[in-house]
C-alpha cells in the first residue's frame, strides 16, 4: 500500500504494515489537534481582536471540567498509542523460535554477513522471501546500528556483546541498509543492500557459494585450537562435555545459573574465568586475540550442532519438546 506514496518507504516485512498503521493513527491524532489548535488560535485572534485601545475584557475564570476533559482525553489517546506501540514492539522483539540465523559483524565502515551455510557477504544480505530470519550481531569496534527502512526494523550493534533483531521479508526487491548509529568518518558510507529473492532464486544463489558451512568451519577450528583436548566429545574430561548443552540452564560455581546461549559461549571463549560451570576448575585459557569474531561465530555454530535439534514433530508437540530440552540439565 505504501509503495506508491513518496512519503512512506516500501512495506517489505511482516511488521511494516503494522508500524505504518500505528503511524496513521498517530497522524490522525496529530493532525486533529494541530489543526484544532491552529484554527482556534486563528479564530480567537480574529474574533476577539482589540478594537479599542482601552477595552478590558471580562475575566473568564478557569473551569475544572474543561481542565479535566483536556487532561483525561489526551491521556486516553496516548495510552492507545502506548499499548499499540508496545504490542508491535513485542512482536519485533520476539523472533520465531525456529527462525534461521544470520550473523552480522559491524566494523568501521562495513557490514560482514555470515550465513549459517557458510556464505559470506559484505554490505549485502541475500534473503529468501517469506522466511523469518534472526540476525545475531556484534561490532568489532564502536557502536553501529542495523537499519532497514523497508522492514521498519533497527537495532544497535555493540562491541563485546551480541544483540539481535529479526524480520520476515514479504516482498522481493532491493532495500536500503543503513548504519544508523554514528560511528566515525565514513558512517554515511556504511550502507548496503538487502536482496529479497524468491525461494528458488535464493537457493540458486546459496549454492553458488564456496566454502563449508559455518558449523563445519567451526568443527575444524575446534580441533585446530585443541579445544577437544579438554572438552572431550565422548566422555568427561577436565572440562565440561559440550554435548546437549545449548539452550539449557547451566549451574555455575557461585550458585547462580546461566543460559547456555551464543552470548555465554562467546564469553567462555574470550573470558573463560567469568562464569565457571559448577564442579570445574578455572583452567581454561582465554582465546582473546587468538580468534576473530568470525571464528567465534563458527565455533558457536559448531557447538550448537552438538545439541541435536528436535526432529520433525507432529503439530502441537513442538513447544513441549523445546521445554523438555531446557529442563534437562
Amino acid at each position: 500500500m505504501g509503495s506508491e506514496l513518496p512519503l512512506f518507504p516500501v512495506q517489505a516485512s511482516t511488521v511494516a504494515a503494522s508500524v505504518d498503521h500505528l503511524v496513521y493513527y498517530l497522524l490522525a491524532v496529530a493532525i486533529f489537534f494541530s489543526v484544532g489548535i491552529f484554527l482556534s488560535i486563528f479564530y480567537f485572534a480574529v474574533r476577539y481582536r482589540r478594537r479599542s485601545e482601552f477595552e478590558v475584557p471580562a475575566n473568564v475564570h478557569g473551569g475544572m471540567t474543561l481542565e479535566i476533559a483536556w487532561t483525561v482525553i489526551p491521556f486516553g489517546l496516548t495510552m492507545i498509542m502506548f499499548v499499540w506501540g508496545a504490542s508491535t514492539f513485542f512482536r519485533m522483539s520476539r523472533p520465531p523460535d525456529d527462525a534461521p540465523q544470520v550473523y552480522v559483524i559491524g566494523k568501521q565502515w562495513m557490514w560482514k554477513m555470515q550465513h549459517m551455510e557458510g556464505q559470506r557477504e559484505i554490505n549485502e544480505l541475500h534473503l529468501p522471501l517469506g522466511q523469518a530470519v534472526k540476525l545475531t550481531m556484534t561490532s568489532e569496534d564502536v557502536i553501529h546500528d542495523f537499519f532497514v527502512p523497508a522492514f521498519r526494523t533497527k537495532a544497535d550493534v555493540l562491541p563485546g556483546r551480541y544483540t539481535t533483531t529479526w524480520f520476515q521479508p514479504t516482498k522481493p526487491g532491493k532495500y536500503h541498509l543503513f548504519c544508523s548509529q554514528y560511528c566515525g568518518t565514513n558512517h554515511s558510507q556504511m550502507i548496503g543492500w538487502i536482496y529479497v529473492m524468491e525461494p528458488q532464486d535464493y537457493q540458486a544463489w546459496l549454492s553458488g557459494g564456496t566454502g563449508g558451512s559455518l558449523a563445519s568451519s567451526g568443527e575444524k577450528l575446534f580441533q585446530d585450537l585443541a579445544c577437544a583436548n579438554c572438552h572431550h566429545l565422548n566422555d568427561q574430561g577436565r572440562c565440561p562435555n559440550l554435548r546437549n548443552l545449548y539452550g539449557s540452564q547451566v549451574s555455575l560455581t557461585d550458585g547462580t545459573h546461566v543460559l547456555f546461549d551464543e552470548g555465554y559461549i562467546r564469553e567462555s571463549i574470550l573470558n573463560p574465568s567469568a562464569k565457571i560451570v559448577a564442579g570445574y576448575q578455572p583452567i581454561m585459557p582465554t582465546f582473546q586475540g587468538l580468534v576473530t569474531e568470525e571464528n567465534v561465530l563458527q565455533l558457536i555454530e559448531y557447538i550448537k550442532t552438538l545439541t541435536p535439534k528436535p526432529g520433525p514433530q507432529p503439530a502441537g508437540a513442538g513447544k513441549s519438546a523445546q521445554s523438555k530440552k531446557l529442563s534437562k540439565q
Binding site: D254, N271, P272, S273, P282
Partner: protein, 219 residues
C-alpha cells in the same frame, strides 16, 4: 538611595539578617543536593559493576586495609564532632573555643588526607593502580579487577578533592574567626561551612563499607 546601612553582616540584596541566614542555609543545602547527584553517578556505576563482577570485586576489595579504613572513618567522625562543637562555640560567642575547634577539625582532616596518601602509595607499590603495570593476584579477571580500582581511585580521589576544598573553607573560617568576624548574631558561614564538612563526611561513610567491606569474613 539605599536605606539600609551595609554592615559586615547584611548584604544589600537582603531585607533582614534573618532572611540572609535562611537564604545562605537553603543555598548550601541545595548545593549539597547537587553534590549528591554528582557522586551519585559514580555510586551507580560502582553498584552496577559490583553486581556484574562480584567475584573480582571481592578479591580486589579484600586487598584494601580495613583497619586503616576504619581508623580514617573514625577520624572523620571526630572531625565532624569538632565541627559541631565549633558551630556551637560560634553560637555562644566563644571566639577562643571556635578557633580551637576549627583547628582540631582541620587537624583531623589533615590526618585523614595523610592516611589516604599513605594508602594510595601502598596501592601504587602493590601494582594495584590501573594502567600498564596493573596486576592483582588471586583472580583471572584482571579487567574487572582493574575496574574496581579505577572506581576506587576515582571515588576516593573525588572525595579527597572535596576534603581539600573543605580544608580551604576551614582555613578561611579560621582566619575570619581570628579576625573576630563571627558573633552570636552572625555566624552563618561557620554554620554552612559545617554543613559542607558533614556532607563530605557522609560521603565517606558510604564509601568505606562499599569499597572496603565487600564479602569480608573474619575468622
Amino acid at each position: 538611595m539605599d536605606s539600609h546601612t551595609e554592615t559586615l553582616a547584611l548584604r544589600e540584596q537582603f531585607e533582614t539578617p534573618a532572611q540572609q541566614k535562611e537564604a545562605s542555609t537553603l543555598g548550601m543545602w541545595i548545593f549539597l543536593v547537587t553534590e549528591v547527584m554528582f557522586f551519585g553517578g559514580l555510586f551507580l556505576a560502582y553498584t552496577i559493576y559490583r553486581k556484574e563482577f562480584a567475584g573480582a570485586f571481592a578479591v580486589a576489595s579484600n586487598t584494601l586495609d580495613v583497619v586503616i579504613g576504619a581508623v580514617n572513618t573514625a577520624v572523620l567522625l571526630c572531625s565532624s564532632y569538632t565541627m559541631v562543637l565549633a558551630v556551637r562555640a560560634a553560637q555562644m560567642g566563644s571566639r577562643r573555643a571556635l578557633i580551637v575547634f576549627l583547628i582540631l577539625t582541620m587537624v583531623f582532616g589533615g590526618v585523614f588526607l595523610g592516611v589516604k596518601a599513605y594508602e594510595w602509595n601502598q596501592k601504587f607499590e602493590e601494582h594495584h593502580v590501573p594502567g600498564p603495570s596493573f596486576h592483582l593476584d588471586k583472580t583471572t579477571e584482571q579487567g574487572p579487577a582493574q575496574l574496581f580500582f579505577s572506581l576506587y581511585f576515582t571515588m576516593t580521589g573525588l572525595h579527597a578533592l572535596h576534603m581539600v576544598v573543605g580544608m580551604g573553607i576551614m582555613l578561611t573560617l579560621l582566619l575570619h574567626a581570628y579576625a573576630g568576624r563571627y558573633t552570636p548574631e552572625y555566624y552563618t558561614p561557620v554554620d554552612v561551612g559545617g554543613l559542607y564538612w558533614h556532607f563530605v563526611d557522609i560521603i565517606w561513610i558510604f564509601l568505606f563499607p562499599l569499597l572496603y567491606l565487600i564479602g569480608r569474613h573474619y575468622h
